[in-house]
């Protein structure tokens, strides 16, 4: 009952949050110089034609009117049409979502799968040479810019070794390949962007798990376990793993919008046709309905993600209930 009331309260709070967020971002993207009609700077296109395009799109109206118009459509679930492509915004999202999900979900799974054992080992052996090695390597991944790392991955594994394609999501010549062929082709294209993301994000979660494990090792229940004569391995895997994995729920909750919005830099670099690439293109062409749609979806997912995380926490950890 209390949980229900909490959810309803959260949902009611969502309304002003969303309106506020959208108003601020609407003003910000309209204040940025340029608009969909003026991005093209070519003497073959007359200034008058550009003004007419602007008028047709309603960009000559006061900002408040434009925002009201947009919000009125949005509350009815109408994301509108892209100013640039004329396609419904929702269609554009749905087209891009599979590629983004493939990349983001697989990278998340891999990141969690790698950081949990690394972090736990480090936490259980603080100060050992392996701990220091892990810290240094993951930190190195964090400190190199993703763009550079991606370029290097392409140089080494695509240009020099020739193991993977340099960019793209699928091979156009394989359009009639069977399920296995398509699957392998997708996987082949996935590896480089995937590892670029994974390497760049190892440091954070590893340190998280490390400090979690380190802290837990001094908890009374661990000391009690030791006193009962349980082996270190048993303590680690039976008792600490569960507790150390707890913060993951929060992280996953916060990751939800990132999963959908895509990795801007990596998608651009590897010509990965996901939401991130769409985001970059929309920002450069000042495609307002598309940018607003992306922000709106991101905000909703962030709020929901947080809510889900709180609920999951309460469910997993009896102390919070």
């Amino acid at each position: 009952m209390i949980a229900m009331r909490l959810i309803v309260k959260r949902l009611i709070w969502m309304v002003p949050l969303l309106v506020g967020m959208s108003a601020v971002s609407f003003v910000m993207i309209h204040v940025a110089p340029g608009d969909p009609a003026s991005v093209m700077f070519d003497p073959n296109f007359s200034v008058k034609d550009q003004a007419l395009v602007r008028k047709n799109l309603g960009l000559d109206q006061p900002l408040v009117v434009q925002y009201g118009h947009w919000l009125a459509h949005m509350v009815r679930g109408d994301f509108g049409y892209s100013y640039v492509t004329g396609k419904p915004v929702v269609t554009s999202f749905l087209e891009r979502l599979p590629a983004t999900l493939l990349l983001s979900v697989s990278s998340l799974v891999l990141i969690v799968g790698i950081t949990l054992p690394l972090g736990m080992y480090s936490g259980a052996h603080p100060g050992s040479w392996i701990d220091r090695l892990i810290a240094n390597i993951t930190l190195l991944g964090l400190s190199v810019p993703t763009f550079w790392l991606g370029m290097m991955m392409i140089m080494v594994f695509s240009v020099w070794l020739g193991w993977f394609p340099s960019s793209g999501y699928l091979n156009p010549d394989l359009s009639e390949a069977g399920f296995l062929g398509t699957f392998l082709d997708r996987l082949h294209h996935l590896i480089l962007p995937l590892f670029t993301i994974v390497i760049a994000s190892l440091a954070g979660l590893t340190r998280y798990h490390r400090s979690g494990t380190k802290q837990l090792l001094n908890e009374p229940f661990v000391i009690a376990c030791r006193a009962r004569g349980l082996s270190e391995n048993r303590i680690l895997f039976k008792h600490i793993l569960k507790n150390a994995a707890l913060p993951l729920i929060t992280i996953l909750g916060l990751e939800l919008p990132a999963l959908m919005s895509g990795a801007f830099v990596v998608e651009y670099l590897f010509a990965w046709p996901g939401m991130g690439q769409l985001g970059i293109a929309s920002i450069f062409s000042r495609d307002y309905p598309m940018i607003m749609g992306l922000l709106w979806v991101g905000a909703i997912l962030l709020i929901f993600g947080n809510m889900l995380a709180d609920m999951a926490y309460a469910w997993v950890d009896p102390r919070i209930r």
Partner: protein
């Protein structure tokens, strides 16, 4: 601890096995058709709505205009069989070719032509191509005389009109009753061209295939795939890796790419020029002697050598050496690199050097900020070199590199404009009319943002538009270029050359020229 170690070992083994498996599967060398690339996703494939270059990537292959540009950059009939002007130069009649069919099998007629131009003129169409069919604010009238004859009636003679007739013609029967902005046609175009549209995988590639009922010479290629690769460095890598067949080569990469045995490199003059434009309402820059001093102070040969790696030519005029109106050498005013002349001119203009070596006048130090756009490395490097040259002749210079839209906003602000000088380039078409860039009416809103105003040039610009005779136009533009160059509203820096790398398996290429290496796409084929 053994379990933990086992887990880590598993991880290492997984990664290693993965690498080994994929190490075997690679190379996509069994491609049958031609594969090119686009540096961005098209917004639309509808030629009258296209506002970016990516959206025009298939135009010449899928559509036809009444006229087309040939390899010599001249106009010749395409969908039209012939055309002739009336005596007064105000009416032009196009006789269309018969037996042309759209990719869906419907016949092509005069209705399609009239529909296309009416759609462009329709104020509710979001197009930036209306100026092609409007003369002095009045629309050109298009009429179908019969199924294969179209007449265009101009308010007055207007020479650039013919270039506009290369505009792709749209099918009337598919677009008459739909919203042109949201129709599926924009993603699945039907044209009359040598290739018909096959598929568009969002963010991935576009594919077209030979149209067997094409009215002209049938294409030899089965298919063309245009891969979408947003990053230019990555496109170059794709060319190296034989994932695409052709790609532009930036000056800095030319030497490296030249060594690759599977590629042929071609180089030609482009239809563009780069310039340093002055705000002509600036208190110091409004003086012609000051601008001349700057022109003498910049070593353009050094720019071509260091910025373009010798892949370009020094410019003196707002045109291109490959354009038919480019004048003979004798008519070209040249401002040779001569810093001593710069100093003399600045002194003549009332400036004197202060203790730190910079010129000043009426207590104000001569200080300039050069603007250019972010992301164009060649332009950024050019601006840096110009800064050094200007400092050398006693002008304190700084640089501001701006995001594209922010720069455009700055240049488009109302008069008086606040910028000092800008390094930019103009791409020019095959039509020499430069009214939009140089006519005084195109300031402050318009492309004459530098505020150039010379009544003689205004007259020549109008004359150039209203004269139909090619030779007469040639002499008008020669005078126009020379007048502008002597006024130094801008320092014309260089004409960059375009270098293209093409896979040696691609044969039947055109002669190197601004029309592109695959201008005659029908002749292009892949060597077995």
């Amino acid at each position: 601890m053994t379990e933990l170690r086992r887990m880590m070992m598993c991880l290492v083994v997984c990664v290693a096995v993965g690498m080994a498996v994929f190490g075997c599967a690679s190379s996509l060398s069994n491609r049958r058709g031609l594969t090119t690339h686009s540096l961005g996703e098209p917004s639309t494939l509808n030629p009258i709505l296209a506002m970016d270059s990516a959206s025009s990537v298939l135009n010449d292959w899928v559509f036809n205009g009444l006229l087309k540009v040939n390899e010599q950059l001249e106009l010749e009939p395409d969908l039209a069989q012939s055309y002739h002007w009336s005596e007064d130069g105000k009416t032009i009649t196009f006789i269309l070719k018969k037996n042309i069919v759209w990719h869906d099998g419907a016949p092509f007629t005069a209705k399609d032509v009239v529909f296309t131009f009416h759609k462009i003129l329709d104020p509710s169409t979001r197009t930036v191509r209306r100026s092609m069919v409007v003369v002095d604010g009045k629309p050109i009238q298009f009429k179908a005389i019969n199924a294969y004859t179209v007449q265009a009636i101009l308010p007055k003679p207007f020479a650039p009109f013919l270039t506009g007739m290369t505009m792709s013609i749209l099918p009337h029967h598919l677009l008459e009753h739909v919203d042109i902005h949201t129709t599926t046609f924009n993603r699945h175009p039907i044209g009359t061209g040598p290739f018909k549209f096959v598929s568009w995988q969002t963010g991935q590639y576009l594919k077209i295939a030979r149209f067997d009922h094409y009215f002209g010479q049938k294409a030899k290629l089965d298919t063309i795939t245009v891969k979408i690769i947003p990053d230019s460095n990555n496109a170059l890598i794709a060319l190296q890796k034989k994932e695409i067949d052709a790609c532009d080569i930036p000056p800095k990469d030319r030497e490296r790419i030249q060594k690759l045995p599977h590629l042929s490199l071609f180089q030609y003059d482009g239809l563009e020029y780069t310039y340093l434009g002055f705000n002509l309402h600036h208190p110091f820059l409004s003086d012609k002697r000051v601008r001349q001093a700057i022109a003498h102070g910049i070593n353009k040969d050094a720019l071509v050598a260091h910025v373009l790696n010798h892949q370009g030519r020094v410019a003196h005029l707002p045109s291109s050496p490959v354009l038919w109106t480019y004048p003979p050498d004798a008519m070209i005013p040249v401002f040779a690199y001569d810093p001593s002349r710069s100093h003399a001119l600045l002194k003549q203009a009332g400036f004197h050097q202060n203790k730190s070596g910079f010129y000043e006048k009426n207590g104000h130090v001569f200080e300039l900020t050069l603007l250019t756009n972010k992301g164009n490395k060649t332009r950024e490097k050019t601006t840096e070199l110009i800064q050094q040259y200007l400092q050398k002749i006693g002008i304190k210079t700084s640089i501001q590199i701006m995001e594209w839209s922010a720069l455009i906003k700055r240049l488009n602000e109302a008069s008086p404009k606040s910028f000092d000088a800008v390094v930019l380039g103009w791409a020019i078409g095959i039509e020499p009319d430069a009214y939009a860039i140089w006519h005084s009416s195109q300031y402050p809103q318009g492309f004459n943002f530098i505020g150039y105003n010379n009544p003689a040039v205004d007259r020549l610009l109008v004359q150039g538009r209203e004269t139909m005779d090619r030779e007469a136009r040639k002499s008008i533009y020669a005078t126009l270029y020379a007048t502008i160059a002597r006024d130094v509203p801008a320092v014309f820096l260089y004409y960059p050359k375009t270098t293209v790398g093409i896979h040696k398996r691609v044969k039947g290429l055109s002669n190197p020229g601004p029309a592109g290496m695959m201008h005659r796409i029908e002749s292009v084929f892949i060597a077995p």
